[in-house]
Symmetry: C2
DNA sequence: CCGAATAACTAGAGCGTCTAGGCATCGGAG
DNA sequence: CTCCGATGCCTAGACGCTCTAGTTATTCGG
């Protein structure tokens, strides 16, 4: 039983949420599922992490929400990426790349 | 003036410190310099981040410290990686790799 | 002589994620 | 028909880590 890595590093969750929403509007619970699926079951975002994060992200104008229904006919709040959100996603991906590069460099050291 | 990325993601600092010490014993201030240098000036660890982290890491038995002197003849506390620290470094590198892989997967999604 | 760099340390703020709940609806198993 | 798990939203509070912003002391160069 290989436990998936649940705990995320602070700061990566926003990027993942924005990325998930960049593939199309989705409701909160669906964001969790999409991230889980896209990551190959490696990332399991907790609801208690997601909803506060979505709220924060909406406050910053990176996503917009509206109430609607899922295909299965359940009430759900649909989130859509805004243009500012797209920019933010690019910023965070860039930031991640630079950090990852820096860490690669440190780890290459003998 | 390209500002180096100062802020680290939570959890990466331990790995960087352990990695720095895996190259040989060093004092706190030197750890900052070594990480800065190895990362190609991309990572700037704050003293206020480092010293608490070193204390925490020592409490967990991953490093040992003793007072000594630097080559320039200054008093300094020298930190040495323990065997448990080596193992922990491997664990954290593995954990990082898995997270990085998962994020790559999510980002590849179209 | 004085400022910058080296060296160690602390208090407290700030932030984000997690644990651990609560609530409601729906489908399927028994 | 009943109960449980999955879906769906949410909150409070704990927790952990890094940062800001200080303090103290020594050494070296200009």
């Amino acid at each position: 039983m290989t436990e998936p890595k649940a705990d995320l590093l602070q700061g990566t969750l926003d990027m993942l949420i924005l990325k998930a929403l960049s593939l199309g509007p989705l409701h909160g619970y669906g964001v969790i599922q999409r991230i889980h699926q896209l990551s190959g079951e490696m990332l399991a975002v907790e609801q208690g992490s997601l909803y506060p994060a979505l709220y924060r992200i909406e406050q910053r104008g990176w996503v917009k929400s509206r109430w609607g229904t899922t295909e299965t006919g359940r009430r759900a709040k649909l989130y859509t990426l805004t243009r500012a959100g797209e920019k933010q996603l690019a910023v965070e991906e860039d930031s991640w790349d630079r950090l990852a590069l820096a860490i690669v460099k440190v780890r290459q050291a003998t």
